[in-house]
Amino acid sequence: MRTLPLGLQVPGDTVWHRLPTGRKLLGLVLLGVGVVALQGPWLPLLALAVALAVALHAGVPARSLVLGVRPLLVLLAVVAALQTWQRGWPVAVEVVATTLTLVVLATTFTATTPTDDLLDAVVRAAGVLRPLGVDPQRVALTFSLAISSIPVVATLFTQTREAAKARGLERSPRATLTPFAVRTVAHAHAVGDALAARGLGDPD
């Protein structure tokens, strides 16, 4: 496995897999808030170590964790440099460790939760909004589409950039961004048609 595709579960029977999805989601939210509130360099680093230990205990491959955060590393390096320059190294460590902790926790959540269970939890949570005219199944579907669209859009961007490069236009942002936007909208239309054809937008 080169990377862990977003939303793809790692099969297992750890305590993290067995936790009810709703409680796990609530726990993730509370932990996220708690981690962001941590001050100084040492507590965020400790939180990152704990998050990594939880991820490994849950069976998330270490290589997948490394490859999963790799796209963030350039951004984090820039942020760390800026924070060190403006507010000192303790703040830089705090920001970077907090961000990495959140990514590792989110990865562990998706790796230990079948998407179907997650949708059920979203349907239950959105059920309280039914009197206001909200369709919980539609909310869950939107959630699912948001998860599944990320790798697809990333692939579209790569393909568009390669097409621009093949025509010698790699230095022109317009040659990449314009067709990328058009292809993304076209993909959204195609997905919309497919969902409508499966009756997923129809009322109960």
Binding site: L8, D120, S148, A194, A196, R198, G199, L200
Partner: protein, 231 residues
Amino acid sequence: MATIELDDVTVTAPTADGEVVLLRDVTAHLTERRVAVVGANGSGKSTLARLVNGLVGAASGSVRVDGLDVATDGPAVRRRVGFVFTQPAAQLVMPTVLEDVALSLRRHVKDKRERETRARAVLADIGLADRADTSVHALSGGQQQLLAIAGVLACEPTVVVADEPTTLLDLRNARAVQERLLSMDQQLLLVTHDLDLARRCDRALVVEDGHVTCDDDPERAVAHYVESTLS
């Protein structure tokens, strides 16, 4: 077998200058098990297919499936009519194979275990049982198309509309998808450029410039299409 009735159907689309006619005065009552639709690119054959489950609306005329009007009974029609697209990737929206089939069942099967059981049964039937927990992105093009068909069959439709389902596939995968579609119990409305495949159907329509110019036995319809295209 289901009945698809198109009566004097005209479909238009807006343009900057007004509107363009995509299909004009199409009438056909389809009761055969396997019906092919052939025609050149842009002739209107996909529009005809998309009429059947309401992805495209008629400007005039009526489209009925088993007596249900697509315009007024859309959700009921879509429960009867499954649709397989050319590009399967747009049709697959869940991370794993099993979850994607189960998604089709969410509206009508509330129990998670029953959804999973039914999804696994469909996957076994279509030959993807061993890929149930695989990422949908890890499948080959042919497997993705078979998965898209599984997602449709999970809802137990009476009609399956397939819009050029083998166009993007290599020979082996195209054969697998063709055989699966032709062996289904459901009525099949198949839009295709593969004339050999069209000949294996029970009836064929030829669409040219928005008109159905031939509605006949597949051998005669394909001969008409070849002659009118190449002459």
